[in-house]
């Protein structure tokens, strides 16, 4: 028994060492930090729940919470609907593999584009000056058109669209391989019964890939909740906090204002929410025994 343990841990040691020092330790440290007033001077001074109290007193908290919820709900709804749309078209309606993989690779391009470049693409697309693509495009048809600063005018819509375009590929590919694994005779039977295409989508495709839909909803919710990268790069939370979301505000408090303790407290609250979603997911997939991935 002892020898077996030794062998197992010999294989695991690089993994365990790295993950404990640079992943688990920071996770614990984040919780400890959230009770301290740690700042740029790096002096530990414990202040109890002061940081948490500060979150509730902060006048911006309500706005940030509202932004976060709207951002998650709207983006997720659009992502899941478009994913279903793309997957059904490219897998069920387009039977040619060549075309299907052509469209899927196009959709993957935004996903593989490094975010630093991807964000510039949007900034250029919507640039307020005449070099902006949309502005010059409209001017091409309407010479009197006065350039609009799209990002300043519609920041929230912009970050949602930018995020949706990046996120499309993942769900579309998962859905598409799920649709592919539906037995062909189900479709044949439906055709024999004279079912219309819309009915086939509603009664065969969607029920068959329901576990995958749930998985994507969970996955995208977690992603949208915690990944602030595109917002940081496109609007940086502005203008006037209009696109500031919860995770990004933790980043701003910690790395811009150097209020590490306060930033950690904001992170801890979000981590708690993430944990609740993960627990819910695990219970749901365990009880149904249909958890995918």
């Amino acid at each position: 028994m002892k020898g077996k343990d030794l062998q197992g841990y010999a294989f695991l040691s690089p993994f365990l060492i790295l993950v404990s020092i640079f992943y688990i330790a920071p996770a614990i440290l984040t919780i400890i930090m959230s009770f301290s007033s740690l700042d740029g001077a790096f002096l530990w001074e414990f202040v109890g729940f002061e940081n948490y109290g500060k979150i509730f007193r902060d006048p911006n908290t309500f706005l940030i919470l509202r932004n976060t919820i709207l951002y998650i709900v709207i983006s997720m709804a659009i992502i899941v609907l478009l994913d279903l749309f793309i997957a059904t078209l490219t897998t069920y309606f387009i039977k040619s593999d060549g075309w299907a993989s052509f469209f899927k690779s196009i959709i993957m391009i935004p996903m593989i584009t490094p975010s630093v470049v991807y964000s510039v693409l949007w900034i250029w697309y919507l640039d307020a000056s005449d070099s902006g693509f949309i502005n010059s495009f409209i001017r091409f048809f309407d010479t009197d058109f006065v350039s609009v600063n799209w990002i300043a005018k519609y920041p929230f819509q912009v970050i949602i669209i930018a995020q949706v375009v990046v996120s499309l590929a993942y769900g579309a590919i998962i859905f598409s391989s799920a649709i592919r694994s539906i037995p062909d005779n189900q479709f044949k039977a439906a055709h024999v019964d004279g079912a219309g295409e819309w009915e086939i989508v509603k009664t065969i495709i969607i029920p068959n890939i329901r576990p995958h839909i749930k998985f994507i909803i969970m996955w995208e919710t977690l992603g949208l909740m915690t990944n602030y990268l595109n917002i940081l790069l496109i609007t940086n939370g502005g203008p006037l906090n209009r696109t500031e979301v919860w995770a990004l505000s933790a980043y701003h408090k910690a790395f811009i204002d150097q209020q590490y303790g306060y930033g950690a407290a904001i992170s801890v609250l979000l981590i708690l929410v993430v944990f609740m979603i993960m627990l819910l997911w695990m219970f749901a997939s365990k009880s149904k025994k249909e958890g995918e991935e």
């Binding site: 197992g8 020092i21 996770a27 740690l38 897998t91 584009t113 693409l121 992603g223 915690t226 790069l233």
Partner: protein
């Protein structure tokens, strides 16, 4: 799905679907093509001048100079190579142990893998910075490599463990009978059986390491160690573009060449739906 003998109505529906998809992807395609084609034009003529930042300093019209991209490219290559190769080796070892060896604590580690793989690592950066300071490896490429590895290992170990789980135990037992030790059997036989798993880990590790931005942005400061991501970012602040779009497009092309190459080679892997960690999971 069958693709032979489409009926007339199936063919018609397929054509409609292809048309709809074309309309759908058109804005994205336009956006990318027009943006990147700007790289090859200056004052309305076709030129490669916009790429001169690769080899040396570049002087812009308003007299600002852009430093050469070479040091940043070098750092990015070192970082990506370090992360990808170590990630493959370490996750192979760990995935094998978790799939095949029996030892105390195996269950606990397996369960924690599930949690760690979905945990929002971006929220831990504040504490990670503190750990790096305590270990005296803050503001160095080495430190960022270790952090990137630690963040990605649970996900890739989970993927490779599933590949190991799929190998019949008999194959492995026969290597043991043939006189291999656990380790030599692992090295000589088992690794070849999980090759697709290794490829998919390597692909995702490469893509994420090469395009990583947030780790460098938060853990490296003072411009001491530029990487391509921070190099480009420094010229494209939200408020104001420092370089003209044509130069940035050229930089984007240089940055994306390895991505496109990898993408083309590994497209099949990506398509199969075993996407490891989505974009931006640091």
């Amino acid at each position: 799905m069958s693709q032979q003998n489409l009926t007339h109505s199936e063919r018609r529906k397929q054509n409609i679907a292809i048309a709809v998809m074309f309309i759908f992807i058109l804005p994205i395609v336009f956006m990318f093509i027009i943006f990147f084609s700007m790289a090859f034009f200056k004052d309305g003529r076709l030129t490669l001048e916009n790429f001169s930042f690769v080899w040396g300093e570049m002087r812009l019209r308003d007299q600002t100079t852009i430093k050469s991209m070479l040091p940043a490219l070098k750092n990015s290559i070192i970082f990506t190579f370090g992360v990808t190769s170590s990630e493959v080796v370490i996750s192979l070892l760990a995935g094998y142990a978790l799939s095949r060896l029996r030892f105390t604590g195996r269950r606990t580690i397996q369960t924690s893998l599930l949690v760690l793989r979905m945990f929002p690592t971006l929220l831990l950066l504040i504490a990670v910075l503190y750990v790096l300071i305590a270990l005296h490896i803050v503001n160095s490429l080495k430190g960022v490599v270790l952090v990137a590895l630690a963040f990605r290992l649970p996900g890739s170990t989970f993927i490779i463990k599933n590949f190991f789980d799929a190998i019949p135990r008999d194959i492995e037992n026969s290597t043991l009978v043939d006189g291999c030790t656990r380790f030599s059997g692992f090295r000589q036989v088992i690794i070849y059986l999980v090759k697709p798993g290794i490829v998919s880990i390597a692909v995702f590790s490469f893509l994420s390491a090469w395009s990583n931005f947030i780790l460098f942005n938060t853990l490296l400061f003072g411009n001491k160690t530029p990487v391509v991501a921070t190099y480009i970012r420094a010229l494209t602040r939200n408020e104001q573009m420092i370089a003209p779009y044509s130069v940035i497009a050229a930089m984007g092309i240089v940055y994306m060449i390895p991505v496109i190459v990898f993408f083309t080679i590994s497209q099949k892997q990506l398509m199969e739906g075993n996407i490891g960690g989505g974009k931006g999971t640091a």
